[in-house]
Subunit: 345 residues, 2 copies
Amino acid sequence: MSARSAVQPNPQRPSSVRQIAEIVGVSIATVSRALNAPHQVTPATRNRILEAASRVGYRPSPLGRNLVVGRSHLVGLIVPNIGFPLYGLMARSVEDILEPLGLRALLASSDDDNDREVEAAQSLLRHAVDGGIVINSRASASLPSGPRYPWIHLSPEAAGLSGAVELDNVAGGRLAGQHLLSLGRRRLAHVAGEGREGDDREAGFLEALRDHPLEAVGRAVGDYSEQTGRISTRAILERVGRDGLDGLFLASDIMAAGALRELREAGLRVPEDVAVIGFDDAEFAGLLTPPLTTVRQPAKAMGAAAARLLLQSYTLESSETLSNQPVLFAPELVVRGSSVAAHHS
Amino acid sequence: MSARSAVQPNPQRPSSVRQIAEIVGVSIATVSRALNAPHQVTPATRNRILEAASRVGYRPSPLGRNLVVGRSHLVGLIVPNIGFPLYGLMARSVEDILEPLGLRALLASSDDDNDREVEAAQSLLRHAVDGGIVINSRASASLPSGPRYPWIHLSPEAAGLSGAVELDNVAGGRLAGQHLLSLGRRRLAHVAGEGREGDDREAGFLEALRDHPLEAVGRAVGDYSEQTGRISTRAILERVGRDGLDGLFLASDIMAAGALRELREAGLRVPEDVAVIGFDDAEFAGLLTPPLTTVRQPAKAMGAAAARLLLQSYTLESSETLSNQPVLFAPELVVRGSSVAAHHS
DNA sequence: CTGAAAGCGCTAACAT
DNA sequence: ATGTTAGCGCTTTCAG
């Protein structure tokens, strides 16, 4: 079946420079110039070419063009999971920076898996991306690279790599600690997260606590799920007793959501009995009961910074290289009802 | 650091079939065959070629290949905003279906804007995507298309288009209505959402209510924000009085979050005084207080269905065409504490 | 200002 | 089984 042929020399195939050249009666070189360097062509012929082009609905083929110029205008974007809001936000702002320059993001999910990430990078390379951004890399070092394939790293473990954007997690933990202290809380506890991020947040938290006369400091570790937020909180409560806790910092908002629930069920009031503070400032943080105080991770700004870094490396001489100093982002404290009783509202 | 050069004649330019052909002493055609149709080549030479290829770190250029085969193995993915969790989930599952087939998603955000969407589609086409999926299209009809550029629509307004995946919003509204009725609630109200989606959800809701002796039915319209959820709830309360409401359905979970807050501040208990039900089953629905009963939108399944539809159109004869019947997805009721008092837990 | 010609990297007949 | 040849759509010298 089908339009296999017979009608036109080529019914299916989109119009090409050659077709236009024939219509107008010029060479394909002139057509190319009229399109890419208009001032190099006599207005008269240029117009005839442009007119013919729009008449046949001409679309330049990026395939042909890319082949000769050697760039695809594609940028790889490796993300643990684009379905996670935080990563989605970062991806979005990467896109916003790239788009005005005619660059498009090619997506790949790594699921936080070392091997999948390397595979993704290779796959993207096979699609001829001009460069790439990798969020929360697990395999930074082993990513296939080269002068023509700059990878920008947007993650906590990128230390020492040539193009990196990081959140200052230590500062974030410090912020949380200082906030609880400033509230007069002295029986504190922390539910840490896994990995480098979690370690840094905890380090900052403890640093803020140092030299303060605390009555107690509890600790547990979670995996950034609501579940472990609850369980860890319960465990801490059992250890220190209902009166042994008046300030709780968790390494993520999701865990904090679990903590809020657990505390409520234990009959403790937030923030009166215990002030709670999370990390990330996820979309839902302000919707919880009470609204969650948290340490905000500037996802959009970080995504934008990574994109700009990539752009910058585009214009570099091949001998030059990006700074080894990561671009560090400062987190920000967002105070809500889980740490300070609502004034009114 | 690193292998800046000196090793190869050409430090910068990646290796090509030609280079390998020269090294091994065969024609470039044989190299191509050894790579793409191994069995057409003598094991001996094949091995020498493969060995040489890996030695020089050969990576086939997709640009050259695509140019001749006429496909880019790129799929466009137009999304209102990849930063929205629901869309992120859909994107992720599209990716999961596409990846095993060597297809990659090229991302573009439309911000729910008609013009931006058309621009995005054109931009993707310029990047030679083989086809595309457009989520929540505002401009379905005016998207540049053709037999070689199948667009699959994943949205409520795609009716009548050739490849479409839709959520049965009417059924969703009905589910919500039936649930409230089954709970014995008779003083109901609805906070509708804008657009076709909102209309359908409301239509289904009202349909379920028909023929039931209701004491009152309130109504307001919101724009899917927490703000308008609150305001609408307040307005309804003012209109019908504190005792005039015992069941509230909102067209989105975010609005429902606002409603929960408003009801609490009005001193009404959920679910005892009023049962609340949202729509979407967003990530945070289960984290609210009380956990939100909602109508679940099967985002992952819908994304996967759209991807499969696209794949299907890949293999179609050019005269064939996809069904005009949209693939309809049934929403699912998720009962939580906002409509039924917790048994225990 | 314009045309002719070469070539980007690869595949696909068509020969051998 | 392998080589030859042509050409995908486009840009870019190099001449004129």
